[in-house]
């Protein structure tokens, strides 16, 4: 089961290295990892998606908590979080296919980020599932490149971790 772990850490050099090092040393698998500074410039938020059982996630949480530079760790409940991922996707496009591609973009809410006589580059921010759908719809047009950020998430409502 995929679970979303939100980690607040000191915004310092080397912290990310400690986090990823811990995952490899303890043999935990990371599905995706995204990091960025929070409203407080001394604190970064790392959002980690792990695909493991509850026991493993509990161990991940505890081991993360042991790192001195980790301030807070919380596993976000699946039905109580806002999770988004950004994808930039480039496909082959010509006069014949461009309109079909645009139709899918409209349906999925993707924006055109760049255009050339032979290609279209689109951006879409959505849940990972919807990004997967969009990606598979684009496959027939021959995808040139895909870049995804990994999920970032916060919990719903007024609370914070």
């Amino acid at each position: 089961m995929k679970q979303t772990i939100s980690v607040l850490v000191e915004n310092r050099a080397g912290v990310l290295n400690r986090i990823t090092g811990l995952f490899s040393r303890r043999a935990f698998n990371i599905d995706s990892l995204a990091v960025g500074v929070t409203d407080d410039p001394t604190v970064s938020r790392i959002t980690i998606i792990v695909d493991s059982g509850n026991n493993v996630v509990e161990q991940v949480e505890k081991q993360l908590n042991k790192l001195i530079e980790v301030i807070k760790v919380r596993t976000l409940e699946e039905n109580n979080l806002i999770g988004r991922e950004l994808m930039i996707l480039k496909v082959n496009a010509n006069n014949k296919t461009r309109q079909d591609i645009m139709t899918i973009c409209e349906i999925m809410g993707a924006k055109v980020a760049d255009i050339s006589p032979t290609s279209l580059t689109m951006e879409l921010s959505d849940t990972p599932d919807r990004l997967d759908t969009f990606q598979s719809m684009m496959r027939p047009f021959s995808i040139l490149e895909v870049a995804r950020t990994g999920v970032i998430a916060v919990q719903k409502g007024g609370g914070k971790i």
Binding site: E10, L22, N55, Q59, K62, N65, I68, I71, K72
Partner: protein, 542 residues
């Protein structure tokens, strides 16, 4: 004041009175500053790994943080095993390494190595200091982190230019503020109640005590709980010595290499109370089976230990000493364990009266342990190495009120001699004994220099079987096909080696006169080497 002086001044503020180290180019400013402070004594090792082990022995006996200091590059990488050994046994230690100038970091210049990166998986924390003004805070934090919660080694890497940089002003912080580090101390009251209830219900309770009890200085509380509730006690290798061998509730050491009676007790208990132990594989071969068969309580300072190797029914996180006091305050229930104790008594008796084999011209290690143990001081410190010597000592050396120090977690050969040196420095008045094999002795015998320099009274028992005995035992069992690469051919004559350091030696090869030999050995003034001739075929299960 420059960074180097700020470092030494900070160490003085932390109450450091002894350091172990090896100088080199990038640590020269710090060594230069140390020179001006005779109030910090300094032991020069012969290889950096042993600076770590000495600091470890020192920390375990003094209860203070052990401090070692080496240079960058090879000095730092040599120290790695010392740091990893301390990490696996949760020993409070601060390791200081010199580093190349900060403007050249990452260029692979002479004697540069990313030591903070290298030790990350097996240190509690590490610092790369890039500004001398941070040194007081970093040292304060490092000592706090190393010695609180679950103790462990902390590394401070200081580039040479930072050691030379002038501070704006030196101010040693009074308090530590680390928002991500708040170890729990008190146990949850509801959980305490569950523990007391579980003890009251059980008929065949058993305490399994580990190194965490020593680290929390909770020996008295453990003993009180065991005695007031009439609960027998088994120990892991790190918990040996928590109870005297002749205590009626002491069942010995559990594990693959443990005492039969201890393993019997573990197999038949209906309630297991784990105190300061992580249920590692050598102690509990199949923790899931134990979990399935009996009720389990797990008391540990490190929340991550709960559920890592065993999912205990009642977890209790906090300082072991505080938690045991909480349980005792609640009124420890008297259990109806009389029948259980009676049953175990016979197992224990059988173990203690076990008859060891004899061979003409040799002494049996188990026999030596019994005879040696009988003659040791009540509060002797025994430093045991890794291998057959360790198994024999842990199984058969009678414990009184002293300490047994060994590398239980990492199993680092060559630990005992440097650890004993550190221990002796921490407690010069205490009888200090090394127990090692001819393999492990040769990994650390260069440190006899430290013994000679300080005229240290450290007694060394060396079991000579010309073999890496424990490895050979593994090799002679399936799936392997016999011994290879374990004969210690070419070993020197240890009497000559000792004599070269001005250390006298004795040889034990006759069990009839063994008592006299041990007596003579222990009463020799200063350091002495006792070489025990052991038949190469001797195994730990004999």
């Amino acid at each position: 004041m420059n960074g180097a002086h700020a470092l030494i001044e900070s160490l003085l503020q932390e109450g450091v009175t002894h350091m172990f180290g090896y100088a080199g180019a990038t640590i020269c400013p710090a060594v230069d500053a140390l020179k001006e402070h005779p109030e910090i004594a300094y032991t020069l090792v012969r290889t950096e790994q042993n600076a770590g082990h000495m600091a470890s022995g020192y920390a375990r006996i003094s209860g203070k943080v052990g401090v070692c200091m080496v240079t960058s590059g090879p000095g730092a990488t040599n120290l790695i095993t010392g740091i990893a050994t301390a990490y696996m046994d949760s020993i409070p230690m601060v390791a200081i390494t010199g580093q190349v100038p900060s403007n050249l970091l990452g260029r692979d210049i002479f004697q540069e190595v990313d030591i903070t990166g290298a030790v990350a998986p097996f240190s509690k924390h590490s610092y790369l200091v890039k500004n001398a003004n941070d040194i007081p805070r970093v040292v304060k934090e490092a000592f706090h982190i190393a010695s609180t919660g679950r103790p462990g080694p902390v590394l401070i890497d200081i580039p040479i230019d930072v050691q030379e940089q002038q501070l704006k002003s030196f101010h040693y912080p009074e308090k530590v503020e680390i928002r991500g580090y708040k170890p729990s101390v008190k146990g949850n009251d509801l959980q305490i109640k569950k523990v007391v209830d579980a003890i009251a219900r059980s008929r065949q309770p058993l305490i399994c005590a580990g190194g965490g009890v020593w680290l929390a200085n909770a020996q008295a509380e453990l003993l009180e709980l065991a005695e007031s509730c009439a609960i027998p006690v088994v120990k892991t290798m790190m918990g040996i010595g928590l109870m005297p061998t002749d205590h009626p509730l002491n069942m010995g050491m559990i594990g693959a290499h443990g005492n039969h009676c201890a393993n019997q007790a573990l197999a038949r208990a209906d309630l297991l109370i784990m105190v300061g132990t992580r249920a590692a594989d050598r102690a509990m071969v199949d923790p899931r089976e134990i979990q399935r068969r009996m009720a389990t309580i797990h008391i540990d300072v490190d929340p991550a230990e709960i559920g890592k190797n065993m999912q205990a029914a009642v977890p209790l996180v906090g300082d072991v000493k505080v938690i045991l006091q909480q349980i005792l305050e609640r009124g420890a229930p008297v259990t109806d364990s009389a029948a259980w104790l009676e049953e175990l008594k016979d197992y224990r008796k059988a173990e203690l009266s076990r008859v060891f084999p004899r061979r003409e011209g040799y002494v049996f290690p188990g026999t030596v342990m019994r005879k040696l143990g009988r003659q040791l001081d009540e509060d002797a410190i025994v430093c045991v190495d890794v291998g057959q010597n360790q198994i024999f000592a842990c199984k058969y050396l009678p414990q009184k009120k002293g300490r047994l120090l060994t590398s239980g977690g990492l199993g680092t050969m060559g630990y005992s001699l440097p650890a004993a040196i550190g221990a002796k420095i921490a407690a010069p008045e205490k009888q200090t004994v090394v127990i090692c094999g001819d393999g492990s002795f040769q990994m650390a015998m260069n440190e006899l220099s430290a013994i000679r320099c300080a005229d240290m009274d450290v007694k060394i028992v060396l079991f000579r079987n010309h073999m890496l005995g424990l490895v050979r035992q593994i090799q002679c069992r399936p799936p392997y096909h016999g011994s290879f690469g374990v004969a210690l051919d070419g070993s020197p004559d240890f009497e000559t080696i000792a004599a070269a350091y001005g250390i006298p030696s004795l040889v034990a090869n006759n069990e009839d006169t063994l008592d006299e030999t041990v007596d003579q050995f222990l009463h020799t003034k200063g350091c002495c080497l006792l070489i025990c001739e052991v038949h190469p075929d001797v195994g730990t299960n004999d």
